[in-house]
């Protein structure tokens, strides 16, 4: 006899779904009116979707119409109307309203898409449908087995039409799961994309000195590993949600067979989940630790790649590095194993408990429930066995979910960390640099820890760089030349004093925007970013030839054909990039150090004068004292200070005297 409790649940769920669908439908219509959604003709795919969805709706309508006949042994709706329960008739009537409403909403959303739409409600409903389709399959299998138990009814599965419901269950499960998966993949990929871009944007806005303070490997881990881990949540959500809905509908079904049996099953499974959650908490700490070692591991990978030469030629270094890497690999492995082990014990326990429930049903229910029928027991066991896979899947999702949570937290922490790096833009965002440019350092002082871990102070420095001047900076190792260069270019922010551009105080980004640089630890991108290369084709070709790398590298659509060049060639290419950027100030940090005499000469005798002639302020950190005469001014650094600001005439005199 039809069950009123089940009908009541269906009615309640349908009422909520219909109301919420109508709400979202209204929102959708509003968005269409506002132009936030536009009609998009999908062509043959759209026609196909309409036809297939109409076919599914027709199948659904047919199944509804034939429900009493197929599901209740040849009954008619007229019979059900008299037999009841009344609520079942109301529930089915509500189904006849809810499904078309949701279907129209689905079609409207499909043909009036919204960019970056996140249709969570639709996903939830379709997940429920998918889960119900999944459950329907086992219900129908049960019903067919029960009916075909006698020889005379062994073909009843086909003859009664139950197979149509079986097909409906499969279609509902697969179609809904497919739509949900597609939507979730889009949404989660967008979320991962958004997070990645948020990290990238924040990183690119961060001042260099703060960026430099980030733990090496952290950025790669956040951008690469954590976001990838989070993107794996798609399958977890789809499988998890579908599994949960299937379990809920299976439990409701079990409840209609025997309420106490259902409560007992829920109790045992809840206990298993509780145990899992408890274990998850301790495992989460281990996974956090594991994630810390992942950062270290990433740093080692970076070292391995960047320092391969050094490792290759120095056996001892290689052995020690290997030991360190092995250690981090071991800890990474061990923490992962420890975390997974935490789950294994409880997983097995969960499975055993689940099988134990089946045993209890089979062996004790006939004693506990006097009236329990053989069919009920068989139905229980069939549903349990069917749910077994789902329960296991749900339980094993928990460790993955814990890893996702750890990664998600890491991403958020990393974003928070880099958000704090952003400087408030209280200073002018642009300064008029047309014509003469004057960068003035007034009492600039900067303190940092040097490679030996000692505090080192650069400054106080008072100095002015001007357009049309060449300034050489020289000094011994650790004298503060490169730090001064980073202060001038805005990469470091002075602890004291100020740097002005044409008399105006500017933030580090604005200051840096005046510079073209080739630092000693320069990085060569494979593309000409920030250069209008289309208009500079001839110039590019000319300098490639001048720098004698035209036979090694070409530039197509702003992209270098290769970067596999010698250090000297790469520096020449970096010089070309810097030249093409055409900024008011050019800074070269020991550019000529790796060049042969010919190119050194070209650099000092041709390029720098040419830049000067073009009105650029040229700053070159150099040790090439044989070219000191070619500068307008020369700064010598010692222990962080300018010890001998020299004028052009003095330098020339010194050089001449030396000669």
């Amino acid at each position: 006899m039809p069950d009123s409790g089940l009908s009541f649940i269906i009615l309640g769920v349908l009422a909520i779904v219909t109301l919420v669908t109508l709400y979202y439908f209204m929102l959708l219509i509003k968005e269409v009116i506002k132009g936030q959604r536009r009609f998009e003709w999908k062509g043959a795919k759209g026609v196909g979707t309409i036809i297939l969805s109409l076919a599914l709706m027709s199948l659904f309508a047919y199944c509804m119409y034939r429900a009493p006949y197929i599901l209740f042994d040849g009954m008619s709706w007229a019979f059900i109307q008299q037999l009841g329960p009344q609520i079942m008739i109301t529930a089915v009537a509500s189904l006849a309203i809810a499904i078309p409403v949701f279907y129209l909403y689905f079609l409207a959303g499909y043909f009036f898409p919204k960019p970056d739409d996140k249709p969570f409600f639709m996903i939830i409903v379709l997940s429920v449908v998918s889960g119900m389709g999944n459950s329907l399959i086992i219900f129908i299998i049960n019903a067919t087995l029960n009916r075909s138990i006698d020889a005379e009814t062994r073909r009843s599965g086909i003859e009664s039409g139950l197979y149509i419901y079986f097909i409906l269950g499969i279609i509902l499960f697969t179609v809904s799961a497919m739509v949900v998966r597609k939507k979730l993949i889009t949404i989660t990929s967008n979320v991962v994309y958004d997070k990645r871009m948020e990290i990238i944007n924040k990183l690119l806005k961060a001042p260099f000195y703060k960026f430099e303070s980030l733990e090496e490997g952290k950025t790669s881990a956040a951008l690469n590993n954590d976001t990838e881990t989070v993107s794996g949540v798609v399958n977890m959500i789809v499988n998890g949600l579908t599994g949960i809905i299937t379990m809920v509908t299976c439990f409701i079904y079990l409840g209609t067979l025997n309420l106490y049996g259902m409560l007992f099953s829920i109790l045992v499974i809840s206990l298993a989940v509780f145990l899992f959650i408890q274990v998850s908490r301790s495992a989460e700490k281990i996974f956090e630790k594991n994630r810390d070692y992942q950062t270290i591991f990433f740093r080692h990978i970076s070292d391995l790649v960047k320092g391969f030469k050094e490792l290759y030629i120095n056996r001892r270094k290689r052995v020690e590095f290997r030991q360190d890497m092995q250690k981090s690999c071991e800890i990474y492995r061990d923490t992962r194993v420890e975390g997974e082990f935490k789950f294994i014990g409880v997983s097995i326990l969960g499975e055993i408990m689940y099988i134990f429930v089946i045993g209890i049903v089979v062996f004790t229910f006939p004693f506990i429930f006097d009236n329990i029928q053989g069919n009920t027991l068989r139905n229980y066991v069939t549903v349990y066995l069917y749910m077994g896979g789902i329960v296991n899947q749900e339980i094993f999702l928990i460790p993955s979910l814990v890893r996702v949570l750890v990664s998600w937290r890491r991403i958020k922490d990393f974003i928070r960390e880099i958000s704090e790096m952003e400087e408030e833009a209280v200073l002018p965002q642009a300064v008029n640099t047309q014509g003469e440019l004057q960068i003035e350092l007034k009492g600039v002082k900067f303190e940092y820890k040097n490679e030996s871990g000692e505090n080192f102070t650069v400054g106080p420095i008072d100095y002015t760089f001007r357009s049309g001047e060449i300034v050489f900076i020289s000094g011994g190792n650790g004298s503060g030349k490169s730090t001064l260069a980073k202060l001038i270019t805005g990469l470091y922010r002075p602890d004291e004093g100020e740097i002005t551009v044409n008399g105006e105080k500017v933030d580090s980004e604005v200051l840096g925007s005046n510079f073209s640089t080739v630092f000693s630890d320069f990085h060569l991108f494979d593309k000409l970013y920030g250069v209008e290369y289309e208009q500079k084709h001839d110039e590019i070709q000319k300098y490639l030839e001048v720098l004698r790398i035209s036979d090694k590298v070409s530039i197509n659509e702003g992209v270098f054909s290769t970067l596999k060049l010698s250090t000297g060639q790469r520096k020449r290419l970096a010089l070309l990039v810097s030249y093409l950027e055409d900024r008011p100030v050019c800074l070269f940090d020991e550019w000529a150090a790796d060049q042969d005499p010919e190119f050194r000469r070209f650099f000092y005798k041709v390029l720098l004068p040419e830049l000067k002639a073009r009105g650029k302020a040229v700053i070159a950190i150099t040790h090439d004292d044989s070219y000191f005469a070619d500068t307008d001014r020369h700064i010598k650094m010692e222990t962080g200070r300018i010890v001998q600001p020299r004028k052009e005439a003095d330098i020339k005199d010194t050089v001449l005297a030396g000669a």
Binding site: Y65, Y69, L83, E152, T153
Partner: protein, 439 residues
């Protein structure tokens, strides 16, 4: 297929219209017909049938004459019964139900078989069984007569007061027949009072044209009986089983006392396809026969086919506590019998309502008050059978109040032309047996 789907959608919308009331066009035949051995008179809402077995006809001839008379009174009788069978049996159930009926035939009383064969002779279906062809074949008329045994049971209730609890001092019995009447009201269209006259016995069946068993009936020895279905989920087997509706007819024909009739029906050698209950009444008392022939009980007790009285001990959690009265819904209650009562709300609700309503009538219950009890409904209109708890519900097609001592019979028949039961059932006083013999 598409046409059926569209039809389905339209039908769904129509079906779900709350409070819809369907008026049935009833095809009427001759208002009165008589031939040797059989007379049939249309009484407006039921047919009054007399089968005179003293007229010298063989049982087959009697059956054929009955069949002819039916077709005179209800020209579309075959279409009504054929469609009713089709409505109740799906395509896959139809063939094996015919086989089940075939399994019952060897155990049937030869006289009854002859009568059914005679009925089949009058109908046009012959030996060809086609579901929904508007013709009744031989096997289909067997199937119709074995409906409660092999197809679908009745969902009924029974209540009787006697002795000090009766206003007359003798038994007043009431029973509701809750049965699906068919989408086109097929059963109400053919409802009838069938009087069977034998040389030394008279029998009255409150039933249906062409149905020769007893759903509700009594004999001139003032023994009243009504069957109530009581399914216990036992796997069905038709091998070696008998028809309890036909056996009940035989019991009323062949016995003179309630005890004998009851004993006949509880005979362990008689196997039936469906567990059932029979309410028996005579002028002095009323008992309930719980005929659970599979008999799996509680607490290692195995009650099979036992009689329940107002004093009987009932299963745990079930109480009656009304002396000189017995009542039943579709469940076994005797202590030690299979408990198909408590798990089913449609039993517990009606049982509670029956008890409460009867107790409200006090210690001295009249026939009118008994009618009130069996007419109980919670709302304005009768509710659905399974969840309303209404004794008078949407499935109720007949309500019978009978006083064995005075052979007073009052019956509510669902109007032939209305699917939905009226808010208030109207009982008709029906004279019995006096037609032939005078008061």
């Amino acid at each position: 297929m598409l046409k059926r789907m569209l039809g389905g959608i339209v039908a769904l919308v129509l079906i779900f219209q709350v409070g819809c009331s369907k008026e049935i066009a009833v095809v009427t035949g001759e208002s009165s017909y008589q031939e040797k051995g059989v007379s049939i008179t249309d009484k407006g809402n039921y047919f009054d049938v007399v089968l005179d077995y003293t007229a010298g006809l063989t049982r087959r001839q009697m059956g054929e004459a009955f069949g002819r008379a039916i077709l005179k009174a209800v020209p579309n009788y075959e279409a009504l019964i054929d469609s009713y069978i089709a409505e109740n049996l799906s395509t896959y159930e139809y063939p094996y139900s015919l086989l089940r009926a075939e399994d019952v035939m060897p155990q049937m009383n030869e006289d009854y078989k002859e009568e059914i064969e005679g009925l089949a002779d009058a109908f046009s279906g012959g030996k060809e069984n086609v579901r929904g062809d508007n013709k009744i074949s031989r096997d289909e008329i067997y199937l119709f007569n074995l409906f409660t045994d092999v197809v679908r049971g009745t969902q009924c209730c029974y209540l009787a007061v006697s002795g000090d609890r009766s206003s007359t001092g003798s038994t007043i019995a009431g029973r509701n027949l809750d049965w699906f009447g068919g989408q086109d009201n097929q059963l109400p269209i053919i409802q009838s009072i069938i009087t069977m006259r034998y040389t030394d016995k008279k029998l009255c069946s409150v039933g249906y044209l062409g149905y020769i068993g007893i759903l509700t009936g009594f004999n001139d020895d003032k023994v009243f009986a009504a069957i109530v279905d009581s399914q216990s989920g036992t796997p069905y087997s038709s091998l070696g089983i008998r028809s309890y509706a036909l056996d009940l007819r035989f019991a009323l024909e062949s016995t003179n006392t309630m005890e004998d009739a009851c004993e006949f029906m509880r005979d362990p050698s008689k196997l039936y396809g469906v567990n059932h209950i029979i309410g028996f009444s005579d002028p002095v008392k009323s008992v309930i026969l719980e005929n659970n022939f599979t008999g799996d009980g509680l607490d290692l007790k195995r009650v099979k086919r036992s009689v329940r009285t107002s004093e009987s001990a009932l299963n745990k959690g079930i109480s009656w506590g009304i002396d000189n009265a017995v009542g039943t819904v579709n469940s076994f209650l005797l202590y030690g019998n299979h408990d198909n009562h408590k798990p089913n709300k449609y039993n517990t609700k009606r049982w509670q309502n029956m008890k409460r309503e009867l107790l409200e009538k006090g210690e001295d219950v009249t026939a009118e008050e008994l009618k009130d009890v069996i007419s109980y409904k919670k709302g304005k209109s009768p509710g659905t059978f399974s969840d309303s708890g209404d004794l008078y519900n949407k499935m109720t097609v007949q309500m019978v109040v009978f006083e064995p001592e005075s052979l007073s019979l009052e019956v509510f028949f669902r109007p032939r032309n209305i699917i939905d039961n009226p808010e208030v059932p109207v009982f008709e006083k029906i004279p019995v047996f006096w037609q032939e013999d005078g008061p």
